[in-house]
């Protein structure tokens, strides 16, 4: 593949923007936060991040916000992922791998049903702002 230039990247971005406008926005206002502390990285957080991006691309969902954070205080169930979606409570999932990523997208983001067997509640109180009231 020839090297992509910044100009080509800009053009691709514009094409993508137009595509998004035309589509039904199933990922709107959804945010996925992946734990990338020492514990998260060691447990495979990077694979989870990659899995989210490729699974979302597969389903042509371009507008889910995917960000990283440090350790969420749940090192024993890493990799952990927080999912904040409209009409759903914020949930922290633990022991996430590529197959759980598929379920989170299909069941939680699209289907509005929690993936119950991977729910690990909120992070520990010492690292969340305002005692967890955010």
């Amino acid at each position: 593949m020839a090297k992509m230039t910044l100009e080509e990247l800009r053009k691709l971005r514009d094409t993508k923007k137009n595509e998004i406008k035309k589509r039904d926005l199933s990922g709107r206002d959804t945010q996925i936060v992946i734990g990338m502390g020492t514990c998260g990285i060691a447990a495979g957080g990077k694979i989870v991040l990659d899995a989210f991006l490729s699974e979302l691309e597969l389903r042509k969902i371009d507008n889910v916000i995917v960000t990283q954070t440090g350790c969420m205080g749940l090192c024993y169930v890493e990799p952990t992922v927080e999912v904040i979606a409209p009409d759903m409570p914020p949930v922290i999932y633990g022991k996430v791998d590529a197959s759980v990523v598929k379920r989170i997208i299909d069941e939680h983001v699209v289907g509005k049903q929690m993936v119950s067997d991977h729910v690990f509640d909120r992070p520990s109180a010492d690292i969340i702002k305002d005692g967890g009231k955010r």
């Binding site: 593949m1 020839a2 090297k3 992509m4 910044l6 990247l9 800009r10 691709l12 971005r13 993508k16 923007k17 998004i20 990922g27 990338m36 502390g37 020492t38 990285i41 060691a42 495979g44 990077k46 991040l49 990659d50 989210f52 991006l53 490729s54 979302l56 691309e57 969902i61 371009d62 507008n63 889910v64 916000i65 995917v66 960000t67 990283q68 954070t69 440090g70 350790c71 205080g73 010492d126 690292i127």
Partner: protein
Amino acid sequence: MHATLCDFVSDIVQNSIEANSRLIEVDVEENGNKMRFTITDDGKGMDEHTLNVVLDPFYTDGIKHKSRTVGLGLPFLKQTVDAVGGDFSIESEVGEGTTVKCSFLTDHIDCPPLGDLVTTIMMLLTYPGKHELVVTHTIRNGARRQGYSVAKSEMLEALGEVETSGSLMLLKKYLQSQEDSIEDNEIHA
């Protein structure tokens, strides 16, 4: 211990981000069987005492996690460098910033694999915060140097934002194309 060399880099860069750096530079340099990483920031830095204890796994500043008594990022790194016969150094000055340098002999039997460099660079460039981050990947071959450099600000300008899944995927493709053509990209000193 981390599974890949890239994981060590992600871990150390997070320290730089948490030290309120404005500019973080990550240099990845390949030279034969040596893989060298240099992470330089202009964050809050450390005093001499902290610098002396920071490689102790039972030292932490206790700021991020009040009840925690371990800090494993740098100790993990030093342990692996020692195990595979590389170099490690850390320099820091309060208010000036910190530089961590490490290298690994990739043909050592205990050397972890490099890991996914493209995803790692994408992660580094998109970690939340207002800081600037520049990644340079160079391959040295005698007097020849090939490589590329990519800055967070440049990607933000081209993509508008780097947090939606669509943008991240584009960024990843851009980085992959830089990696794929790295050998055609001669650097002239």
